[in-house]
Subunit: 288 residues, 2 copies
Amino acid sequence: MERIKKISILGVGLMGGSFALSLKKIFPQIEIIGYARSRKTFQRLSQLNVVDKVELDLKQCVCDSDLIVLAAPIYAITDYLKQIGPYLKKEAIVIDLGSTKEQIGEAAKKYLAKNVDFVGCHPLSGSDKSGAEFSSPKLYQGSLCIVTADANKKATQIIKNLWQKLGAKVIFMDALSHDKILSSVSHVMHLVSFSLTDFVPRNYLKFAQASFKDLTRISNSPANVWADIFISNKKNIIKDASKVIEILKRFQSLIKKNKKEEIISLIEKINRKQKLSRCQRTTGYARG
Amino acid sequence: MERIKKISILGVGLMGGSFALSLKKIFPQIEIIGYARSRKTFQRLSQLNVVDKVELDLKQCVCDSDLIVLAAPIYAITDYLKQIGPYLKKEAIVIDLGSTKEQIGEAAKKYLAKNVDFVGCHPLSGSDKSGAEFSSPKLYQGSLCIVTADANKKATQIIKNLWQKLGAKVIFMDALSHDKILSSVSHVMHLVSFSLTDFVPRNYLKFAQASFKDLTRISNSPANVWADIFISNKKNIIKDASKVIEILKRFQSLIKKNKKEEIISLIEKINRKQKLSRCQRTTGYARG
Protein backbone atom coordinates (compact mmCIF):
# COMPACT_ATOMS: atom_id res chain seq x y z
CA MET A 1 0.00 0.00 0.00
CA GLU A 2 2.97 2.35 0.30
CA ARG A 3 2.62 2.95 -3.45
CA ILE A 4 -0.80 4.57 -2.95
CA LYS A 5 -0.52 8.13 -1.71
CA LYS A 6 -3.39 9.79 -3.51
CA ILE A 7 -6.76 8.35 -4.51
CA SER A 8 -9.42 9.88 -6.75
CA ILE A 9 -13.02 8.80 -6.54
CA LEU A 10 -15.23 9.45 -9.56
CA GLY A 11 -18.82 9.04 -8.43
CA VAL A 12 -18.98 9.84 -4.72
CA GLY A 13 -22.29 8.15 -3.90
CA LEU A 14 -22.99 5.48 -1.31
CA MET A 15 -20.41 3.03 -2.68
CA GLY A 16 -17.70 5.58 -3.49
CA GLY A 17 -18.28 7.53 -0.30
CA SER A 18 -18.15 4.40 1.84
CA PHE A 19 -14.95 3.38 0.08
CA ALA A 20 -13.45 6.76 1.00
CA LEU A 21 -14.55 6.59 4.63
CA SER A 22 -13.38 2.99 5.06
CA LEU A 23 -9.99 3.71 3.54
CA LYS A 24 -9.45 6.91 5.48
CA LYS A 25 -10.04 5.09 8.73
CA ILE A 26 -7.23 2.62 8.05
CA PHE A 27 -4.88 4.82 6.03
CA PRO A 28 -5.37 8.38 7.35
CA GLN A 29 -2.24 9.51 5.51
CA ILE A 30 -3.71 8.81 2.05
CA GLU A 31 -5.24 11.85 0.34
CA ILE A 32 -8.68 11.19 -1.10
CA ILE A 33 -10.09 13.46 -3.81
CA GLY A 34 -13.70 13.32 -4.92
CA TYR A 35 -14.73 14.46 -8.38
CA ALA A 36 -17.79 16.69 -8.70
CA ARG A 37 -19.42 16.99 -12.12
CA SER A 38 -21.29 20.15 -11.19
CA ARG A 39 -21.00 23.11 -8.85
CA LYS A 40 -24.06 21.85 -6.98
CA THR A 41 -22.43 18.48 -6.34
CA PHE A 42 -19.21 20.30 -5.44
CA GLN A 43 -21.01 22.22 -2.70
CA ARG A 44 -22.89 19.20 -1.40
CA LEU A 45 -19.77 17.01 -1.27
CA SER A 46 -17.70 19.79 0.28
CA GLN A 47 -20.09 19.89 3.23
CA LEU A 48 -20.20 16.12 3.76
CA ASN A 49 -16.59 15.49 4.78
CA VAL A 50 -16.55 12.15 3.01
CA VAL A 51 -13.45 13.00 0.97
CA ASP A 52 -10.46 15.22 1.80
CA LYS A 53 -10.95 17.48 -1.18
CA VAL A 54 -13.54 17.97 -3.91
CA GLU A 55 -12.37 18.74 -7.42
CA LEU A 56 -14.39 20.12 -10.33
CA ASP A 57 -11.74 19.63 -12.99
CA LEU A 58 -11.53 16.02 -14.14
CA LYS A 59 -7.93 16.26 -15.38
CA GLN A 60 -6.79 17.90 -12.14
CA CYS A 61 -8.68 15.28 -10.19
CA VAL A 62 -6.96 12.25 -11.71
CA CYS A 63 -3.63 13.35 -13.26
CA ASP A 64 -1.39 12.66 -10.27
CA SER A 65 -3.45 9.99 -8.51
CA ASP A 66 -2.07 6.55 -7.75
CA LEU A 67 -5.49 4.96 -7.64
CA ILE A 68 -8.64 6.02 -9.47
CA VAL A 69 -11.92 4.53 -8.27
CA LEU A 70 -14.89 4.58 -10.65
CA ALA A 71 -18.10 4.26 -8.65
CA ALA A 72 -20.93 5.23 -10.97
CA PRO A 73 -23.59 3.61 -13.19
CA ILE A 74 -22.03 1.28 -15.81
CA TYR A 75 -22.09 3.64 -18.79
CA ALA A 76 -20.93 6.55 -16.66
CA ILE A 77 -17.93 4.35 -15.77
CA THR A 78 -17.20 3.57 -19.43
CA ASP A 79 -17.49 7.29 -20.19
CA TYR A 80 -15.07 8.12 -17.38
CA LEU A 81 -12.61 5.54 -18.72
CA LYS A 82 -12.69 7.26 -22.12
CA GLN A 83 -12.28 10.72 -20.59
CA ILE A 84 -9.53 9.99 -18.07
CA GLY A 85 -7.49 7.71 -20.33
CA PRO A 86 -5.22 10.50 -21.63
CA TYR A 87 -4.67 12.11 -18.20
CA LEU A 88 -3.46 9.24 -16.04
CA LYS A 89 0.07 9.01 -14.81
CA LYS A 90 2.30 6.00 -15.50
CA GLU A 91 1.60 2.99 -13.28
CA ALA A 92 -1.64 4.43 -11.96
CA ILE A 93 -4.20 1.78 -11.01
CA VAL A 94 -7.85 2.15 -12.04
CA ILE A 95 -10.59 0.15 -10.37
CA ASP A 96 -14.36 0.24 -10.78
CA LEU A 97 -17.16 -0.84 -8.44
CA GLY A 98 -19.70 -1.62 -11.17
CA SER A 99 -22.25 -4.45 -11.06
CA THR A 100 -21.44 -5.81 -14.52
CA LYS A 101 -17.89 -6.40 -15.64
CA GLU A 102 -17.61 -7.36 -19.31
CA GLN A 103 -18.33 -4.03 -20.98
CA ILE A 104 -16.35 -2.07 -18.39
CA GLY A 105 -13.37 -4.40 -18.89
CA GLU A 106 -13.57 -3.86 -22.65
CA ALA A 107 -13.72 -0.08 -22.24
CA ALA A 108 -10.70 -0.20 -19.92
CA LYS A 109 -8.76 -2.18 -22.49
CA LYS A 110 -9.74 0.29 -25.20
CA TYR A 111 -9.16 3.58 -23.40
CA LEU A 112 -6.39 3.04 -20.87
CA ALA A 113 -2.71 3.15 -21.71
CA LYS A 114 -0.56 0.01 -21.46
CA ASN A 115 1.31 1.44 -18.47
CA VAL A 116 -1.90 1.84 -16.47
CA ASP A 117 -3.39 -1.13 -14.62
CA PHE A 118 -7.09 -1.82 -14.56
CA VAL A 119 -8.62 -4.08 -11.90
CA GLY A 120 -12.37 -4.71 -12.13
CA CYS A 121 -14.05 -4.99 -8.74
CA HIS A 122 -17.58 -5.76 -7.66
CA PRO A 123 -18.11 -5.50 -3.93
CA LEU A 124 -21.39 -7.28 -3.17
CA SER A 125 -22.60 -4.64 -0.79
CA GLY A 126 -25.06 -1.85 -0.99
CA SER A 127 -27.97 -0.44 0.85
CA ASP A 128 -31.60 0.49 0.45
CA LYS A 129 -30.27 4.02 0.63
CA SER A 130 -28.30 5.76 -2.05
CA GLY A 131 -26.20 8.93 -2.01
CA ALA A 132 -22.92 9.97 -0.38
CA GLU A 133 -24.77 11.16 2.73
CA PHE A 134 -25.45 7.51 3.64
CA SER A 135 -21.79 6.50 3.31
CA SER A 136 -20.53 4.19 6.01
CA PRO A 137 -16.99 3.13 6.92
CA LYS A 138 -18.44 -0.33 7.62
CA LEU A 139 -20.22 -0.97 4.30
CA TYR A 140 -17.60 -3.41 3.03
CA GLN A 141 -16.91 -5.21 6.29
CA GLY A 142 -17.78 -8.88 5.99
CA SER A 143 -18.82 -8.53 2.36
CA LEU A 144 -17.68 -10.46 -0.67
CA CYS A 145 -15.74 -8.64 -3.36
CA ILE A 146 -15.45 -10.23 -6.77
CA VAL A 147 -12.30 -9.15 -8.61
CA THR A 148 -12.15 -9.70 -12.36
CA ALA A 149 -8.47 -9.36 -13.15
CA ASP A 150 -5.34 -11.44 -13.51
CA ALA A 151 -4.61 -12.53 -9.94
CA ASN A 152 -0.87 -12.71 -10.66
CA LYS A 153 -0.42 -9.08 -11.54
CA LYS A 154 1.12 -6.79 -8.96
CA ALA A 155 -1.73 -4.24 -9.24
CA THR A 156 -4.30 -6.97 -8.63
CA GLN A 157 -2.48 -8.02 -5.46
CA ILE A 158 -2.42 -4.42 -4.22
CA ILE A 159 -6.16 -4.10 -4.78
CA LYS A 160 -6.81 -7.48 -3.20
CA ASN A 161 -4.93 -6.41 -0.09
CA LEU A 162 -6.81 -3.17 -0.03
CA TRP A 163 -10.24 -4.91 -0.04
CA GLN A 164 -9.06 -7.27 2.64
CA LYS A 165 -8.02 -4.32 4.80
CA LEU A 166 -11.56 -2.98 4.36
CA GLY A 167 -12.88 -6.29 5.70
CA ALA A 168 -14.04 -7.84 2.43
CA LYS A 169 -13.39 -11.38 1.28
CA VAL A 170 -11.93 -11.34 -2.22
CA ILE A 171 -12.57 -13.93 -4.90
CA PHE A 172 -11.27 -13.92 -8.44
CA MET A 173 -13.38 -14.60 -11.47
CA ASP A 174 -13.37 -13.75 -15.16
CA ALA A 175 -15.76 -11.01 -16.27
CA LEU A 176 -17.96 -13.35 -18.34
CA SER A 177 -18.56 -15.73 -15.43
CA HIS A 178 -19.21 -12.79 -13.13
CA ASP A 179 -21.89 -11.37 -15.39
CA LYS A 180 -23.54 -14.76 -15.86
CA ILE A 181 -23.69 -15.52 -12.13
CA LEU A 182 -24.76 -12.04 -11.09
CA SER A 183 -27.50 -12.06 -13.69
CA SER A 184 -29.02 -15.09 -11.95
CA VAL A 185 -28.54 -14.19 -8.30
CA SER A 186 -29.05 -10.44 -8.49
CA HIS A 187 -30.00 -8.81 -11.79
CA VAL A 188 -32.99 -11.04 -12.54
CA MET A 189 -34.11 -10.68 -8.90
CA HIS A 190 -34.26 -6.93 -9.48
CA LEU A 191 -36.04 -7.34 -12.82
CA VAL A 192 -38.67 -9.56 -11.19
CA SER A 193 -39.04 -7.23 -8.22
CA PHE A 194 -39.61 -4.24 -10.51
CA SER A 195 -42.14 -6.31 -12.49
CA LEU A 196 -44.07 -7.37 -9.38
CA THR A 197 -44.43 -3.79 -8.15
CA ASP A 198 -45.55 -2.76 -11.62
CA PHE A 199 -48.06 -5.61 -11.65
CA VAL A 200 -49.90 -5.13 -8.33
CA PRO A 201 -53.03 -2.99 -8.75
CA ARG A 202 -52.65 0.27 -6.87
CA ASN A 203 -55.87 -0.17 -4.89
CA TYR A 204 -54.71 -3.56 -3.58
CA LEU A 205 -51.56 -2.15 -1.99
CA LYS A 206 -53.23 -1.61 1.36
CA PHE A 207 -53.68 -5.38 1.69
CA ALA A 208 -50.02 -6.13 1.03
CA GLN A 209 -48.25 -8.26 3.59
CA ALA A 210 -44.71 -9.37 4.32
CA SER A 211 -44.57 -11.48 1.14
CA PHE A 212 -45.22 -8.43 -1.04
CA LYS A 213 -42.87 -6.28 1.02
CA ASP A 214 -40.03 -8.79 0.72
CA LEU A 215 -40.44 -9.36 -3.00
CA THR A 216 -40.73 -5.68 -3.86
CA ARG A 217 -38.29 -4.03 -1.42
CA ILE A 218 -35.54 -3.75 -4.03
CA SER A 219 -37.92 -2.22 -6.56
CA ASN A 220 -36.93 1.11 -5.00
CA SER A 221 -33.48 0.67 -6.60
CA PRO A 222 -32.31 3.63 -8.70
CA ALA A 223 -33.55 3.65 -12.28
CA ASN A 224 -30.39 5.03 -13.92
CA VAL A 225 -28.17 2.45 -12.22
CA TRP A 226 -30.40 -0.47 -13.14
CA ALA A 227 -31.12 0.55 -16.72
CA ASP A 228 -27.35 0.39 -17.29
CA ILE A 229 -26.99 -2.96 -15.54
CA PHE A 230 -29.84 -4.48 -17.56
CA ILE A 231 -28.51 -3.20 -20.89
CA SER A 232 -24.86 -3.99 -20.21
CA ASN A 233 -25.72 -7.56 -19.17
CA LYS A 234 -28.64 -8.04 -21.54
CA LYS A 235 -27.65 -11.40 -23.00
CA ASN A 236 -27.63 -13.15 -19.61
CA ILE A 237 -30.58 -11.27 -18.16
CA ILE A 238 -32.90 -11.88 -21.11
CA LYS A 239 -32.00 -15.58 -21.06
CA ASP A 240 -32.49 -15.86 -17.30
CA ALA A 241 -35.82 -14.00 -17.39
CA SER A 242 -36.99 -16.50 -20.01
CA LYS A 243 -36.05 -19.36 -17.69
CA VAL A 244 -38.06 -17.82 -14.85
CA ILE A 245 -41.00 -17.38 -17.24
CA GLU A 246 -40.76 -21.07 -18.20
CA ILE A 247 -40.94 -22.13 -14.55
CA LEU A 248 -43.92 -19.84 -13.93
CA LYS A 249 -45.64 -21.38 -16.94
CA ARG A 250 -44.92 -24.87 -15.63
CA PHE A 251 -46.54 -23.94 -12.33
CA GLN A 252 -49.51 -22.47 -14.20
CA SER A 253 -49.94 -25.70 -16.13
CA LEU A 254 -49.74 -27.90 -13.00
CA ILE A 255 -52.21 -25.66 -11.18
CA LYS A 256 -54.61 -25.61 -14.13
CA LYS A 257 -54.63 -29.42 -14.22
CA ASN A 258 -55.04 -29.75 -10.41
CA LYS A 259 -51.79 -31.73 -10.19
CA LYS A 260 -51.63 -31.44 -6.42
CA GLU A 261 -49.08 -34.19 -5.82
CA GLU A 262 -46.73 -32.82 -8.48
CA ILE A 263 -47.03 -29.30 -7.09
CA ILE A 264 -46.25 -30.61 -3.61
CA SER A 265 -43.17 -32.51 -4.88
CA LEU A 266 -41.95 -29.46 -6.75
CA ILE A 267 -42.40 -27.12 -3.77
CA GLU A 268 -40.76 -29.64 -1.43
CA LYS A 269 -37.76 -29.74 -3.77
CA ILE A 270 -37.74 -25.93 -3.72
CA ASN A 271 -38.02 -25.90 0.10
CA ARG A 272 -34.87 -28.03 0.30
CA LYS A 273 -33.02 -25.74 -2.08
CA GLN A 274 -34.10 -22.67 -0.11
CA LYS A 275 -32.75 -24.30 3.04
CA LEU A 276 -29.50 -25.10 1.24
CA SER A 277 -29.22 -21.52 0.02
CA ARG A 278 -29.36 -20.26 3.59
CA CYS A 279 -26.37 -22.46 4.48
CA GLN A 280 -24.37 -21.77 1.33
CA ARG A 281 -24.05 -18.02 1.41
CA THR A 282 -20.43 -17.05 1.81
CA THR A 283 -21.02 -13.78 3.58
CA GLY A 284 -23.51 -11.97 5.74
CA TYR A 285 -26.36 -10.50 3.79
CA ALA A 286 -25.06 -7.60 1.84
CA ARG A 287 -27.80 -5.22 0.80
CA GLY A 288 -28.41 -4.84 -2.91
CA MET B 1 -68.70 -13.35 24.00
CA GLU B 2 -70.73 -14.76 26.87
CA ARG B 3 -72.24 -17.20 24.33
CA ILE B 4 -68.84 -18.84 23.76
CA LYS B 5 -67.94 -21.26 26.54
CA LYS B 6 -66.19 -23.99 24.61
CA ILE B 7 -64.03 -23.74 21.50
CA SER B 8 -62.67 -26.54 19.33
CA ILE B 9 -59.67 -26.02 17.11
CA LEU B 10 -59.22 -28.38 14.18
CA GLY B 11 -55.65 -27.98 12.96
CA VAL B 12 -53.52 -26.89 15.90
CA GLY B 13 -50.54 -25.52 13.99
CA LEU B 14 -49.00 -22.07 14.20
CA MET B 15 -52.25 -20.25 13.32
CA GLY B 16 -54.60 -22.44 15.35
CA GLY B 17 -52.21 -22.66 18.28
CA SER B 18 -51.68 -18.90 18.34
CA PHE B 19 -55.44 -18.41 18.20
CA ALA B 20 -55.77 -20.65 21.26
CA LEU B 21 -53.02 -18.89 23.22
CA SER B 22 -54.32 -15.42 22.34
CA LEU B 23 -57.87 -16.27 23.35
CA LYS B 24 -56.89 -18.00 26.55
CA LYS B 25 -55.00 -14.94 27.67
CA ILE B 26 -58.09 -12.74 27.39
CA PHE B 27 -60.79 -15.29 28.23
CA PRO B 28 -59.20 -17.77 30.65
CA GLN B 29 -62.65 -19.19 31.47
CA ILE B 30 -63.25 -20.49 27.92
CA GLU B 31 -62.36 -24.17 27.43
CA ILE B 32 -60.26 -24.79 24.33
CA ILE B 33 -60.13 -28.29 22.82
CA GLY B 34 -57.63 -29.21 20.13
CA TYR B 35 -58.33 -32.03 17.71
CA ALA B 36 -55.55 -34.55 17.02
CA ARG B 37 -55.87 -36.73 13.92
CA SER B 38 -53.33 -39.27 15.18
CA ARG B 39 -51.99 -40.63 18.44
CA LYS B 40 -48.62 -39.10 17.62
CA THR B 41 -50.15 -35.63 17.25
CA PHE B 42 -52.19 -36.30 20.39
CA GLN B 43 -49.00 -36.87 22.38
CA ARG B 44 -47.18 -33.93 20.89
CA LEU B 45 -50.07 -31.50 21.48
CA SER B 46 -50.66 -32.84 24.99
CA GLN B 47 -47.13 -31.85 25.92
CA LEU B 48 -47.30 -28.36 24.41
CA ASN B 49 -49.94 -26.79 26.65
CA VAL B 50 -51.34 -24.78 23.78
CA VAL B 51 -54.90 -26.04 24.29
CA ASP B 52 -56.70 -27.11 27.47
CA LYS B 53 -57.47 -30.58 26.21
CA VAL B 54 -56.57 -32.72 23.21
CA GLU B 55 -59.24 -34.93 21.69
CA LEU B 56 -58.78 -37.81 19.25
CA ASP B 57 -62.44 -38.31 18.46
CA LEU B 58 -63.73 -35.73 15.99
CA LYS B 59 -67.37 -36.00 17.03
CA GLN B 60 -66.49 -35.69 20.73
CA CYS B 61 -64.26 -32.76 19.87
CA VAL B 62 -66.93 -30.64 18.18
CA CYS B 63 -70.38 -31.83 19.28
CA ASP B 64 -70.90 -29.47 22.21
CA SER B 65 -68.61 -26.61 21.12
CA ASP B 66 -69.92 -23.10 20.68
CA LEU B 67 -67.17 -22.15 18.26
CA ILE B 68 -65.26 -24.43 15.89
CA VAL B 69 -62.07 -23.02 14.37
CA LEU B 70 -60.74 -24.66 11.19
CA ALA B 71 -57.05 -23.87 10.84
CA ALA B 72 -55.67 -26.26 8.23
CA PRO B 73 -54.77 -26.33 4.53
CA ILE B 74 -57.76 -25.38 2.32
CA TYR B 75 -58.86 -28.88 1.30
CA ALA B 76 -58.37 -30.18 4.84
CA ILE B 77 -60.77 -27.41 5.89
CA THR B 78 -63.36 -28.42 3.28
CA ASP B 79 -62.97 -32.06 4.43
CA TYR B 80 -63.49 -31.03 8.05
CA LEU B 81 -66.62 -29.10 7.07
CA LYS B 82 -68.01 -32.24 5.46
CA GLN B 83 -67.10 -34.42 8.42
CA ILE B 84 -68.25 -32.17 11.26
CA GLY B 85 -71.48 -31.01 9.55
CA PRO B 86 -73.66 -33.70 11.14
CA TYR B 87 -72.17 -33.37 14.64
CA LEU B 88 -72.52 -29.66 15.40
CA LYS B 89 -74.96 -28.34 17.92
CA LYS B 90 -77.60 -25.77 17.09
CA GLU B 91 -76.31 -22.19 16.84
CA ALA B 92 -72.70 -23.26 16.87
CA ILE B 93 -70.41 -20.88 14.97
CA VAL B 94 -67.79 -22.24 12.57
CA ILE B 95 -64.90 -20.09 11.40
CA ASP B 96 -61.89 -20.92 9.25
CA LEU B 97 -58.48 -19.24 8.98
CA GLY B 98 -57.81 -20.28 5.38
CA SER B 99 -55.98 -18.16 2.79
CA THR B 100 -58.61 -18.56 0.06
CA LYS B 101 -62.28 -18.08 0.76
CA GLU B 102 -64.52 -19.01 -2.17
CA GLN B 103 -64.26 -22.81 -2.10
CA ILE B 104 -64.35 -22.94 1.70
CA GLY B 105 -67.47 -20.74 1.71
CA GLU B 106 -69.13 -23.07 -0.82
CA ALA B 107 -68.26 -26.15 1.25
CA ALA B 108 -69.67 -24.48 4.37
CA LYS B 109 -72.92 -23.75 2.54
CA LYS B 110 -73.08 -27.34 1.33
CA TYR B 111 -72.20 -29.22 4.49
CA LEU B 112 -73.34 -27.09 7.43
CA ALA B 113 -76.89 -27.06 8.74
CA LYS B 114 -79.02 -23.95 8.46
CA ASN B 115 -78.94 -23.45 12.23
CA VAL B 116 -75.13 -23.27 12.26
CA ASP B 117 -73.36 -20.02 11.37
CA PHE B 118 -70.26 -19.94 9.21
CA VAL B 119 -67.96 -16.91 9.23
CA GLY B 120 -64.99 -17.03 6.87
CA CYS B 121 -61.86 -15.37 8.30
CA HIS B 122 -58.42 -14.70 6.91
CA PRO B 123 -56.07 -13.18 9.44
CA LEU B 124 -53.15 -11.74 7.45
CA SER B 125 -50.52 -13.04 9.81
CA GLY B 126 -48.14 -15.89 9.79
CA SER B 127 -44.53 -16.62 10.32
CA ASP B 128 -41.53 -18.15 8.66
CA LYS B 129 -42.04 -20.92 11.17
CA SER B 130 -44.83 -23.45 11.12
CA GLY B 131 -46.13 -25.85 13.75
CA ALA B 132 -47.95 -25.47 17.08
CA GLU B 133 -44.64 -25.24 18.93
CA PHE B 134 -44.12 -21.76 17.47
CA SER B 135 -47.55 -20.51 18.58
CA SER B 136 -47.58 -17.03 20.02
CA PRO B 137 -50.28 -15.15 21.93
CA LYS B 138 -49.19 -12.05 20.01
CA LEU B 139 -49.45 -13.37 16.44
CA TYR B 140 -52.66 -11.50 15.65
CA GLN B 141 -51.86 -8.27 17.44
CA GLY B 142 -51.80 -5.39 14.99
CA SER B 143 -52.70 -7.61 12.08
CA LEU B 144 -55.47 -7.24 9.54
CA CYS B 145 -58.24 -9.85 9.50
CA ILE B 146 -60.44 -10.11 6.44
CA VAL B 147 -63.89 -11.47 7.25
CA THR B 148 -65.98 -12.80 4.38
CA ALA B 149 -69.46 -12.94 5.84
CA ASP B 150 -72.60 -10.87 6.15
CA ALA B 151 -71.58 -8.08 8.54
CA ASN B 152 -75.16 -7.74 9.80
CA LYS B 153 -75.46 -11.24 11.18
CA LYS B 154 -75.14 -11.73 14.91
CA ALA B 155 -72.51 -14.46 14.54
CA THR B 156 -70.39 -12.19 12.33
CA GLN B 157 -70.48 -9.48 14.98
CA ILE B 158 -69.40 -11.96 17.66
CA ILE B 159 -66.45 -13.06 15.53
CA LYS B 160 -65.57 -9.48 14.66
CA ASN B 161 -65.46 -8.60 18.37
CA LEU B 162 -63.35 -11.65 19.05
CA TRP B 163 -60.71 -10.66 16.46
CA GLN B 164 -60.69 -7.13 17.79
CA LYS B 165 -60.07 -8.45 21.30
CA LEU B 166 -57.07 -10.35 19.85
CA GLY B 167 -55.76 -7.04 18.54
CA ALA B 168 -56.64 -7.46 14.87
CA LYS B 169 -58.28 -4.87 12.65
CA VAL B 170 -61.29 -6.40 10.91
CA ILE B 171 -62.47 -5.57 7.42
CA PHE B 172 -65.37 -7.14 5.56
CA MET B 173 -65.20 -8.33 2.00
CA ASP B 174 -66.96 -10.88 -0.20
CA ALA B 175 -65.08 -14.12 -0.87
CA LEU B 176 -64.58 -13.44 -4.59
CA SER B 177 -62.97 -10.04 -3.98
CA HIS B 178 -60.82 -11.55 -1.23
CA ASP B 179 -59.48 -14.28 -3.50
CA LYS B 180 -58.81 -11.83 -6.32
CA ILE B 181 -56.91 -9.37 -4.11
CA LEU B 182 -54.97 -12.01 -2.21
CA SER B 183 -53.96 -13.66 -5.46
CA SER B 184 -52.22 -10.42 -6.46
CA VAL B 185 -50.64 -9.34 -3.18
CA SER B 186 -49.76 -12.73 -1.75
CA HIS B 187 -50.39 -15.90 -3.78
CA VAL B 188 -48.56 -14.76 -6.90
CA MET B 189 -45.71 -13.46 -4.70
CA HIS B 190 -45.32 -17.00 -3.37
CA LEU B 191 -45.56 -18.52 -6.84
CA VAL B 192 -42.82 -16.19 -8.08
CA SER B 193 -40.67 -16.81 -5.02
CA PHE B 194 -40.91 -20.59 -5.48
CA SER B 195 -40.05 -20.14 -9.17
CA LEU B 196 -36.99 -17.99 -8.44
CA THR B 197 -35.54 -20.51 -6.00
CA ASP B 198 -36.20 -23.26 -8.53
CA PHE B 199 -34.49 -21.17 -11.21
CA VAL B 200 -31.17 -20.24 -9.56
CA PRO B 201 -28.40 -22.73 -10.39
CA ARG B 202 -27.32 -24.57 -7.26
CA ASN B 203 -23.62 -23.68 -7.70
CA TYR B 204 -24.46 -19.96 -7.84
CA LEU B 205 -26.13 -19.95 -4.42
CA LYS B 206 -22.93 -19.01 -2.62
CA PHE B 207 -22.93 -15.66 -4.44
CA ALA B 208 -26.49 -14.82 -3.43
CA GLN B 209 -27.00 -11.48 -1.76
CA ALA B 210 -29.81 -9.67 0.02
CA SER B 211 -31.85 -9.37 -3.20
CA PHE B 212 -31.96 -13.15 -3.59
CA LYS B 213 -32.60 -13.66 0.10
CA ASP B 214 -35.54 -11.25 0.09
CA LEU B 215 -37.15 -12.62 -3.03
CA THR B 216 -36.81 -16.26 -2.01
CA ARG B 217 -37.41 -16.14 1.76
CA ILE B 218 -41.02 -17.25 1.44
CA SER B 219 -40.07 -20.15 -0.82
CA ASN B 220 -39.65 -22.11 2.43
CA SER B 221 -43.44 -22.01 2.81
CA PRO B 222 -45.08 -25.42 3.34
CA ALA B 223 -45.84 -27.38 0.17
CA ASN B 224 -49.15 -28.90 1.26
CA VAL B 225 -50.54 -25.53 2.34
CA TRP B 226 -49.53 -23.78 -0.86
CA ALA B 227 -50.57 -26.51 -3.28
CA ASP B 228 -54.10 -26.12 -1.86
CA ILE B 229 -53.99 -22.32 -2.06
CA PHE B 230 -52.81 -22.41 -5.68
CA ILE B 231 -55.44 -24.95 -6.76
CA SER B 232 -58.31 -23.41 -4.83
CA ASN B 233 -57.57 -19.95 -6.27
CA LYS B 234 -56.35 -21.12 -9.66
CA LYS B 235 -58.41 -18.79 -11.83
CA ASN B 236 -56.98 -15.63 -10.27
CA ILE B 237 -53.46 -16.97 -9.81
CA ILE B 238 -53.07 -18.22 -13.38
CA LYS B 239 -54.34 -14.88 -14.69
CA ASP B 240 -52.06 -12.87 -12.39
CA ALA B 241 -49.01 -15.00 -13.23
CA SER B 242 -49.68 -14.29 -16.91
CA LYS B 243 -49.74 -10.57 -16.18
CA VAL B 244 -46.37 -10.80 -14.42
CA ILE B 245 -45.01 -12.76 -17.38
CA GLU B 246 -46.22 -10.02 -19.74
CA ILE B 247 -44.38 -7.35 -17.73
CA LEU B 248 -41.19 -9.45 -17.70
CA LYS B 249 -41.47 -9.84 -21.46
CA ARG B 250 -41.94 -6.09 -21.87
CA PHE B 251 -38.75 -5.52 -19.87
CA GLN B 252 -36.96 -8.12 -21.99
CA SER B 253 -38.02 -6.34 -25.16
CA LEU B 254 -36.94 -2.90 -23.90
CA ILE B 255 -33.58 -4.29 -22.75
CA LYS B 256 -33.03 -6.12 -26.03
CA LYS B 257 -33.61 -2.89 -27.96
CA ASN B 258 -31.38 -0.80 -25.61
CA LYS B 259 -34.33 1.47 -24.78
CA LYS B 260 -32.52 3.09 -21.88
CA GLU B 261 -34.79 6.12 -21.51
CA GLU B 262 -37.94 3.98 -21.56
CA ILE B 263 -36.46 1.59 -19.00
CA ILE B 264 -35.57 4.53 -16.75
CA SER B 265 -39.10 5.98 -17.04
CA LEU B 266 -40.64 2.61 -16.27
CA ILE B 267 -38.41 2.00 -13.23
CA GLU B 268 -39.01 5.54 -11.98
CA LYS B 269 -42.75 4.92 -12.17
CA ILE B 270 -42.19 1.66 -10.26
CA ASN B 271 -40.02 3.47 -7.67
CA ARG B 272 -42.90 5.86 -6.98
CA LYS B 273 -45.36 2.98 -6.62
CA GLN B 274 -43.01 1.15 -4.26
CA LYS B 275 -42.79 4.29 -2.14
CA LEU B 276 -46.57 4.58 -2.16
CA SER B 277 -46.90 0.93 -1.14
CA ARG B 278 -44.79 1.57 1.94
CA CYS B 279 -47.20 4.32 3.00
CA GLN B 280 -50.40 2.50 2.13
CA ARG B 281 -50.08 -0.65 4.15
CA THR B 282 -52.79 -0.75 6.74
CA THR B 283 -50.92 -2.83 9.29
CA GLY B 284 -47.47 -3.70 10.47
CA TYR B 285 -45.82 -6.30 8.34
CA ALA B 286 -47.46 -9.59 9.00
CA ARG B 287 -45.30 -12.51 8.03
CA GLY B 288 -46.60 -14.76 5.28
